[in-house]
Symmetry: C2
């Protein structure tokens, strides 16, 4: 049995390239005592990956050169020497970007493929879903009536942030790139408005849709969107820092938010978070998200690309916004 | 009787100049019914003034061209037609930068010159004191054992922030400009360390004194100090935005903090505040600050310049750091 796996070959400057990665086929051993072997079916491709391959202190250790690229994956167990995991069980965890995965069960969660298609456990019921759930509620502290602005609004996290805020009685405006995505937000997901940053200047558009200002800004992109939002905060506004995809491939310094003093004038808060800090509450959140999903109150789509070997190119889709929904590789 | 007053003549680009101001001598009328007339003795010169004369939305209306410059002042009542204020009462309030002040009593507080010298009511027992008290405790949420970094540490607010943090059991490092100020911090005020930003590179100095990172950064200056602090935050750190004196006279865009994504990685919070929001609690705070002052647990010095007509030049001392302590004009 042969494993296919994506290794980090070198640390990129700017956008990752084909040279960043090394894809190899190697013999796959079986599990030891206390381990099980998973055949992975879907692998998650996330903006956070750009941070994981940088050589600097962050919320996780960097992926080492020569190591299998860190990734979330879902699949089924084909061999087990672990008392709590049986052949046939479907599991999700940090599998790495590969076809087969040997695990000792730590941090691995069993999931039910009868409830929702397996790939949903990498999206709406996985890390992006948890990120949206806790980010907008626990960090953003939304209240009914709030005006909520979300960037990266058609993405895996942003689309759920907006829908959760709608369920909670907020007015929601999304920023996304392209007419299709914007139409998706307003016509399919129930956003109150969507701004196409590729075709209209952001400042007047945000002002037009948020004439009273912004109570909560959920930032996935950084850069200009963050500055525009900061300039239009209301008193006691909350800025949730989830990501900064516009800056991840910067070769010069990151663009700091020039308008940060708006936080002072408006007694506002800018707060970062990492979804792992909420791990203890994932089961409760996944239950509620599952109910909303089943009831049609939230929608989530996946953008599935076939083939592990496409990873170097697939990853780049995130940075030019070509994906429509949660980006996933089908092994 | 003649009043001398400082009017805003034009809005400066960059540093205010002599042309920014118009100093005039005019006849002074007496108070109407429900008013009283104050002869001002001390007037406060504050970094916030630079913001008040800009023509843009902020936490207060801008000072209008031709209006008396907004300023805090303290003095004694020399004529009264107000039932609650008597001749001889000492009062503090937003008097404007002038010699005589007619007030209807709104927002005016009576103070006792027997307790502390009158000028202290513009510093440690006035707005800077309240700013430090609520900023470091209510916004910074200091806890015993925290490592606290303060910029503008020898200034009216910063020097009190550091001393309050020491009373509360924190380790306190101050950033100030010049050897004298740094010695004052460590030898007189009990700071654990002081960094002279004019003579040593900030990043390694902060790292050296805060090897485990910073729990609370109290920012009075913005610019490089903010970036250096952000880069060295601990998990769940708090950044208190009180001011950004290094940016107030910028003619180009404000320098945004490039390292703001450290807030994300470290689940940290950056929060602005305006002291006026705590007005309801001033009496309690002033009582406690007064006790600390009387007990010698906090020290505060004033830098007093004589003559209202020096205001245009005196204000500039704040921006090149020439003042040693709370800057005050003696009328």
């Amino acid at each position: 049995m042969k494993n296919i796996r994506v290794l980090l070959a070198s640390r990129p400057v700017g956008l990752p390239t084909r040279e960043t990665w090394n894809i190899e086929t190697v013999g796959q051993a079986g599990p030891d005592d206390g381990e099980f072997l998973v055949e992975l079916e879907y692998l998650s491709v996330d903006p956070a990956m750009r941070g994981w391959i940088m050589d600097r202190k962050s919320y996780m250790e960097p992926v080492e050169i020569g190591a299998v690229m860190r990734a979330g994956g879902v699949g089924h167990i084909i061999e087990s020497r672990h008392p709590d995991f049986a052949v046939g069980d479907c599991v999700v965890g940090t599998s790495g970007m590969q076809k087969y995965w040997i695990s000792n069960g730590k941090g691995v969660v069993k999931v039910d493929p009868a409830l929702v298609p397996l790939q949903k456990y990498l999206g709406v019921l996985g890390m992006p879903g948890m990120t949206a759930y806790f980010g907008i509620q626990d960090v953003g502290k939304i209240r009914a009536g709030d005006t909520v602005l979300v960037s990266g609004a058609a993405g895996a996290v942003g689309s759920l942030v907006g829908q959760i805020a709608k369920i909670k009685g907020c007015r929601v405006i999304g920023i996304a790139g392209g007419e299709d995505k914007c139409r998706y937000l307003t016509e399919e997901l129930g956003f109150d408005a969507a701004i196409d940053y590729k075709s209209e200047p952001l400042f007047p558009a945000v002002h037009g849709y948020c004439p009273q200002g912004i109570d909560v800004y959920f930032d996935n992109v950084g850069g200009e969107a963050l500055d525009v939002a900061l300039a239009q905060l209301r008193l006691n506004a909350r800025v949730v820092l989830c990501g900064a995809i516009s800056q991840y491939n910067a070769t010069g310094p990151v663009k700091g938010p020039e308008n940060y003093l708006s936080l002072l004038v408006n007694r506002a808060t800018m707060q970062g978070f990492i979804v792992f800090d909420f791990a203890a509450e994932y089961p409760k959140a996944a239950r509620e998200m599952g109910q909303w999903l089943a009831a049609g109150r939230i929608k989530a789509r996946e953008h599935i690309v076939e083939g592990l070997e496409t990873f170097p190119e697939t990853l780049l889709m995130l940075f030019d916004g070509r994906n429509q929904g949660k980006l996933i590789i089908k092994v």
